[in-house]
C-alpha cells in the first residue's frame, strides 16, 4: 500500500465538505475493510481518505421510531447490529445474517453504511435490506434525500450516490408480521463472501402469501429482485410447490455471472435450490416485529 493522506473530520457535514465530486482520488472510509483490500491489490490508490470514524455519535445509533421502524446510523458497526435487542426483535434476519458474515474482527469495524455504499455484489446485507424494504437517507452537498435500498446499487461497485454524497442512515420499516429468510451459500470457507445470497421476505398470514420479495445477489452484478419468482410465490396452493416454482423461475430469470466462487451454470443451480429453500424457511419463520 502506498502513502495517502488521512482526513479525520469531527462531523458528518464536515466530512461531506471534504469530498470533491471532481476528485476521484479522495474517497470516504467507514470501517475500511473493503477499501483496504482494494488498496492492497493496487486496484485503488487514493490521494486522500476521509475517515468517518470521528463524526457525531448519532450516526452510529440504533433506534426504534414511533412507527416501529428501525433507524440505524450508517456508521453502526455490524457487531452492534448483531447484538442489538432492537434489531433482534424487529428484524431478526439481520442479526442471523451476521453469524457467518466474515469474522468478528471485520464485524467489529465494518459498518452498515459501508456495506451498502461499497456495492460489491458479494455483500450479505444489501439483499437482506432490499428484502426488508429498507431505505437509506443520503446526505450530500446538494442536500438530503431518501433512496430505497432496492434502487441504491446499480451495478458492480456502482450506486446512485453522488461522489460527495454519503449514506447517513438506514431505515428498516416495521415488518408487520412479514417473515424473512436469508440463505448464504459459500464455495470456500463458511465465512467467505457468498457464491450466492438469497433473501426472501413474505407478507400475509399462514400459508397465504400476499406479497413476496425475492432478492438474488452475489451471482448477479447487483442485488436483484426476481419478479417471476415473486409471482410464483404469491397466492394460495401448496406452498412448497410454489417455492420450487419460484426457484425454477429465479434460476431462469437471473442474469448470472460466473466468478471465482463458481461457474454461472453452477450458480444457477444454487439459485434454483436456495430460492426454494429460503422460501420454505421464510414460511416457517416466526413473523418479525413479534416483540
Amino acid at each position: 500500500m502506498t502513502p495517502f493522506e488521512l482526513l479525520q473530520p469531527r462531523s458528518f457535514r464536515e466530512a461531506i465538505a471534504l469530498l470533491d465530486p471532481e476528485d476521484v482520488e479522495t474517497r470516504p472510509m467507514a470501517g475500511g475493510t473493503a477499501i483496504m483490500l482494494m488498496m492492497k491489490t493496487g486496484m485503488f490508490r487514493p490521494r486522500q481518505l476521509v475517515s468517518l470514524r470521528g463524526v457525531e455519535a448519532s450516526y452510529r445509533r440504533i433506534e426504534v421510531a414511533d412507527d416501529g421502524a428501525l433507524r440505524i446510523g450508517a456508521l453502526t458497526p455490524l457487531a452492534a447490529l448483531e447484538r442489538s435487542p432492537d434489531v433482534v426483535r424487529h428484524a431478526p434476519v439481520i442479526a442471523r445474517t451476521m453469524r457467518r458474515l466474515s469474522n468478528v474482527r471485520v464485524r467489529n469495524v465494518a459498518t452498515i453504511g459501508g456495506s451498502l455504499g461499497h456495492a460489491d455484489p458479494h455483500m450479505d446485507l444489501p439483499p437482506v435490506l432490499t428484502a426488508l424494504g429498507a431505505e437509506v437517507k443520503a446526505i450530500g452537498s446538494a442536500g438530503e434525500r431518501t433512496i430505497a435500498v432496492a434502487d441504491l446499487i446499480t451495478d458492480y461497485y456502482e450506486t446512485v450516490l453522488r461522489p460527495d454524497e454519503l449514506v447517513a442512515e438506514v431505515r428498516v420499516p416495521a415488518q408487520a408480521g412479514r417473515r424473512t429468510a436469508y440463505i448464504k451459500m459459500t464455495a470456500r470457507s463458511a465465512d467467505d463472501w457468498p457464491a450466492v445470497g438469497i433473501a426472501i421476505s413474505l407478507g400475509g398470514g399462514g400459508d397465504a402469501i400476499e406479497d413476496a420479495r425475492v432478492v438474488v445477489s452475489a451471482a448477479t452484478a447487483r442485488p436483484t429482485r426476481i419478479r417471476a419468482a415473486e409471482e410464483a410465490l404469491r397466492g394460495g396452493g401448496d406452498p412448497l410447490a410454489a417455492a420450487r416454482r419460484a426457484g425454477e423461475a429465479a434460476a431462469e430469470e437471473a442474469e448470472v455471472i460466473g466468478d471465482a466462487h463458481g461457474s454461472a451454470a453452477y450458480k444457477k443451480q444454487l439459485i434454483r435450490v436456495c430460492v426454494a429453500r429460503a422460501a420454505g424457511q421464510a414460511l416457517e419463520a416466526p413473523p418479525d416485529d413479534r416483540g
Binding site: 491489490t41 464455495a187 470456500r188 470457507s189 471465482a260 463458481g262 451454470a265 443451480q269
Partner: protein, 756 residues
C-alpha cells in the same frame, strides 16, 4: 513426573498479552526497509531493467539488481538440495513473482512507491506448468542441474542438462509384473492434489545487520543453523561471522525453512553497511513458497480374498521454478508411497519436476498427505470392488512390526494396527450407520497413513546449571507455536529431577545455541528431545563426578547449589552438560531404494470422517472427524492434542477448498486472504476427536516420537471415502469443492452442468 504432564505452555501469557518477541517488532537504528520488484511473466529472458526513476525518487537510498550484488558474494545461488535459486533474478525469470530488483529506503512506503517506478522488459519464453507435462517437455526451466552437494544421493545429477526432472527416485521390491500377472484383479487410478500455501499468519520477515566484518540476521526462520551456514557460504565467510537469531514465529508449517529472505537481506546489509529489513505482505508469500501439486498414478494387483500382492506407483511432484527441499520430499515420502501395507511386489518412481510456477517445498507432512490421498482413495476403491469392508480390507494387508517395509527396513514400534482399530472403534464402525434421505445423504470413511522420519539429521543441546542450581537449556529448536519450549523443558526436567516450569529455554541464536538441523518434519521431539535428554544426563554425570571429587557420598540428595558452593566457596560456577544426537541411517540403494535403516521412527496417523452431502448443491459437511495417532509416549498430552486438531483442520482446508488458482498465462489469480480462504471457526467439524494410542518408541526420549504432521495424513482420503459412501461418487482431485462434488454427482443426469 515431568513428562506426560499437560503443563501450560510457557509462552502463553506473553503471547496473549502482546509481550512475546517477534521479528516483526524489531527496529534497529539506521535501518533500511527493502521492497521487492517482482517478475510479472512466468518465463522470460531479461532484456533490460530500468531502475532510473526509482533510484531518483526522494527518500530512496538504493536500488539493487542482480548485477549490483554480484561483487558482494562469492556464490550467487542458494538452496538446500540444489544451488539453483539466485539472490535476484539473473539472466532470466522462471516464475511469476520472482524477485528481480529491490528498493531500499528508510520509509517502507517510499520503498513501495519506488518499486512501482521500476520497469523490466523480457523476451518471453514458452512456459511449463503441469508436472507430468514438464517431466517430458522440451522447454527447460533450468539449463543445467546444480545439486548442492549436501546430499550424497543427489551427486549423480550434477551437470545434467535438458531436463526438468530434478530427482528421480526409484524403489523396487519383488517382481511387480509377476505380481500383476498372478492377481485376480488389477486396478489403476490417477489422483491429483492442488498447489496450496502454508499461510503462516506472520508473513516472512528478516532483518540483517552487518558491521565490522560480521552480520547478524534476525529472522522468522525454522532453520537458523542452515541459514547461518548457507549465508556464510554465499559470502565466502566462516560460519562464526554470521549470527542468526530467531525469536517466536507466528506459524511456520514448512514455509520458513532453509533460506527465504535471509540471504538477500544479509547481502544487502553487507553491501550497504546498514541494517536492512524485508517483511513480506501476505500476498507476496504466495509467490515465495507453496506445497507441491502432485499427480500420482497407482496400480494394484489383488487376490480375490483381499490381499494386495503387487503395486506400482508413479508420483510427479510439481516443484515450481526452484527445487527448495522438493527433491528430499520426493525421495523421503517416496519410501512410503505404497502405503502402510505388506506388499511383496513393488515398483515405485517419484519425480521432482521443475515448472514455471512459484516454488514448492515442505508443508506439514513432507509430501505424505499427497501420497495418502492417493493410496487411501485407491485402497477404498479396491475394497469396494471386492465387496470387502474397507476396515477389514486394510486389516488384512497392514504392515506389522517385524516385517520389512517397502524399503526393506524392518518395522518397529509402529502401532499401525492399533491406530486403525482405535479409529474404527471410535467411529462405532461395526454398528449400523444412518445414511440420511432426501437431499442430505450421509456417509463415513476411514484412512490411514504413515511416514518415515527425515533422516539422518543432527541435534545438539546444552544444559547449564548455574551457581544456584537453576537450569538454562540451550537449543536451536524454533518454537513456532507447536510448544517445543515447554516439551524440551519437560524432557530436561525429567532427567534432572527438577520442575519443568523452573527451566529457562534460550531461543535460537547461533552465537549461543548449538547446531540443530531444523525444526521440520516432526523431528524435534525425537531428535532434539534425545539431545536434550543426553545433555541433562551429561550434567547429572558431571554433578556426580564433582561430588566424588569433593568426597560427598554418592546417592545423597545434596542440592546442586550446595555442591557448587562447596566446590567454589561461594555461589559460582556452572555444571554444563552437552548432548548430541544423530540416528543410524543407511542411504537407500540408488537402483532399488533398499535400505536396512531408512528411518529412526515411524509416524502413524488415521482419520475417520462422517459427512453429510447436500446432493442439490454439492456441499459436504464434516459432522465428525476422528484423528488417531501413534506419537509414542506423549510428553505433553494437551499440546499433543492441539497439534493433532490443528494439523487435521489445516488439511481440511486443503481437502475442501484451498487451491492456488492459475490462469492460462501462468498468473496466480488468488494470492491474498481475500481470495484464498483457509478454514474458519464455522468450518470446524461439529465433533472433532483427537486421540493417541498407547505406544512407546524405544529409541525416543522417554518413549516419545514426532507429532506435528501426523493428523494431516488421513483427513483428505477419509472424507473422499465418506463422500463415496454417502452418494456413490469418487473424486480424484483435491480440493473437493461443492461445485466439483455437484458436477461429479450429476455428471450424467438432467442436472449435468456444461463444462466451464
Amino acid at each position: 513426573m515431568q513428562v506426560g504432564r499437560s503443563i501450560p505452555r510457557f509462552e502463553s501469557r506473553a503471547k496473549v498479552t502482546g509481550r512475546a518477541e517477534y521479528v516483526h517488532n524489531l527496529r534497529l537504528p539506521g535501518m533500511l526497509h527493502a521492497k521487492v520488484f517482482r517478475s510479472v511473466v512466468p518465463h522470460g529472458r531479461i532484456k533490460s531493467i530500468d531502475v532510473g526513476a526509482a533510484a531518483a525518487m526522494e527518500g530512496v537510498h538504493a536500488v539493487c539488481t542482480a548485477a549490483d550484488l554480484e561483487g558482494v558474494v562469492e556464490s550467487f545461488d542458494y538452496g538446500p538440495a540444489f544451488h539453483d535459486q539466485p539472490l535476484l533474478a539473473r539472466g532470466k525469470v522462471r516464475h511469476v513473482g520472482e524477485p528481480v530488483a529491490v528498493v531500499l529506503a528508510s520509509d517502507p512506503h517510499v520503498a513501495e512507491e519506488a518499486v512501482h517506478l521500476i520497469s523490466a522488459e523480457y523476451d518471453l519464453l514458452p512456459a511449463v506448468y503441469d508436472e507430468v507435462e514438464a517431466a517430458a517437455a522440451t522447454v527447460f526451466v533450468h539449463d543445467e542441474l546444480k545439486p548442492a552437494g549436501t546430499f550424497p544421493d543427489l551427486k549423480h545429477l550434477a551437470g545434467r542438462k535438458d531436463t526438468n526432472v530434478a530427482l528421480d527416485y526409484r524403489l523396487v521390491r519383488g517382481d511387480v509384473e509377476q505380481g500383476f500377472a498372478e492377481a485376480d484383479h488389477v486396478l489403476e487410478h490417477t489422483f491429483r492434489t492442488a498447489q496450496v500455501m502454508h499461510v503462516p499468519l506472520e508473513p516472512m520477515v528478516s532483518v540483517a545487520d552487518a558491521a565490522d566484518g560480521r552480520v547478524t540476521i534476525h529472522t522468522a526462520s525454522q532453520s537458523p543453523s542452515f541459514v547461518r551456514s548457507e549465508v556464510a557460504r554465499l559470502l565466502g565467510w566462516p560460519e562464526n561471522r554470521v549470527r542468526v537469531k530467531v525469536p517466536f514465529l507466528g506459524g511456520g508449517f514448512g514455509a520458513k525453512l532453509y533460506v527465504k529472505l535471509e540471504a538477500l537481506v544479509a547481502v544487502l546489509s553487507v553491501k550497504l553497511q546498514r541494517p536492512v529489513r524485508l517483511s513480506l505482505t501476505m500476498e507476496e508469500q504466495f509467490f515465495t513458497i507453496s506445497k507441491h501439486a502432485t499427480t500420482f498414478r497407482i496400480k494394484s494387483g489383488v487376490t480375490r480374498d483381499g490381499r494386495v500382492i503387487a503395486r506400482s506407483c508413479d508420483v510427479w511432484w510439481n516443484g515450481g521454478a526452484y527445487a527448495d527441499i522438493g527433491p528430499r520430499v520426493t525421495q523421503k515420502s517416496g519410501f512410503t508411497a505404497a502405503g502402510p501395507y505388506d506388499i511383496d511386489n513393488l515398483r515405485l518412481e517419484s519425480f521432482a519436476v521443475y515448472t514455471n510456477r512459484p516454488p514448492a517445498g515442505a508443508l506439514r507432512g513432507f509430501g505424505i498427505p499427497q501420497l495418502v490421498w492417493a493410496y487411501e482413495c485407491h485402497t477404498d476403491i479396491i475394497a469396494r470392488t471386492l465387496g470387502i469392508d474397507p476396515v477389514e480390507f486394510r486389516r488384512r494387508n497392514l504392515l506389522k512390526d517385524g516385517r520389512p517395509q517397502a524399503t526393506g527396513t524392518i518395522m518397529q514400534d509402529a502401532a499401525i494396527g492399533a491406530v486403525l482399530e482405535r479409529t474404527a472403534d471410535r467411529m462405532n464402525w461395526a454398528a449400523p450407520f444412518e445414511r440420511g434421505e432426501g437431499s442430505i445423504r450421509r456417509g463415513r470413511g476411514i484412512a490411514i497413513g504413515f511416514k518415515a522420519s527425515v533422516a539422518p539429521t543432527t541435534s545438539v543441546a546444552i544444559v547449564n546449571l548455574s551457581g544456584d542450581g537453576s537450569c538454562t537449556l540451550y537449543c536451536s529448536t524454533v518454537d513456532m507455536g507447536q510448544g517445543s519450549d515447554t516439551a524440551m523443558a519437560q524432557i530436561a526436567a525429567e532427567e534432572l529431577g527438577i520442575a519443568a516450569e523452573s527451566v529457562t529455554v534460550v531461543h535460537p541464536d547461533t552465537d549461543v545455541t548449538p547446531y540443530d538441523m531444523a525444526t521440520l518434519g516432526s523431528r524435534s521431539t525425537f531428535h532434539m528431545g534425545n539431545a536434550v535428554r543426553l545433555a541433562a544426563a551429561d550434567a547429572n554425570a558431571r554433578i556426580k563426578a564433582m561430588m566424588d571429587e569433593l568426597g560427598m557420598p554418592a546417592g545423597s540428595n545434596v542440592p546442586v547449589a550446595d555442591i557448587l558452593r562447596r566446590k567454589y566457596g561461594m555461589q559460582a560456577g556452572n555444571i554444563i552438560g552437552t548432548g548430541s544426537f544423530v540416528p543410524r541411517y543407511t542411504s537407500p540403494d540408488h537402483d532399488t531404494g533398499q535400505s536396512d535403516e531408512v528411518t529412526p521412527f515411524w509416524m502413524i496417523g488415521a482419520a475417520g470422517a462422517e459427512v453429510a452431502v447436500d446432493t442439490e448443491t454439492g456441499h459436504v459437511r464434516v459432522e465428525l472427524l476422528i484423528n488417531v495417532a501413534d506419537v509414542g509416549q506423549p510428553i505433553n498430552p494437551r499440546v499433543v492434542e492441539t497439534q493433532l486438531s490443528g494439523a487435521a483442520l489445516m488439511q481440511l482446508g486443503f481437502t475442501l477448498f484451498e487451491k492456488m488458482e492459475f490462469d492460462a498465462g501462468g498468473q496466480l489469480t488468488n494470492p491474498s486472504l481475500a481470495d484464498y480462504k483457509i478454514p474458519g471457526l464455522h468450518d470446524v467439524p461439529a465433533t472433532i476427536i483427537n486421540e493417541t494410542v498407547d505406544n512407546r518408541q524405544r529409541n525416543g526420549p522417554f518413549g516419545a516420537k514426532g507429532i506435528g504432521e501426523t493428523a494431516t495424513f488421513g483427513v483428505s482420503p477419509a472424507i473422499a471415502n465418506a463422500i463415496e459412501d454417502a452418494v456413490g461418487i469418487r473424486l480424484t482431485d483435491l480440493p473437493m469443492t461443492p461445485e466439483a462434488v455437484f458436477r461429479a454427482l450429476h455428471a450424467a443426469g438432467p442436472d449435468a452442468l456444461p463444462d466451464t
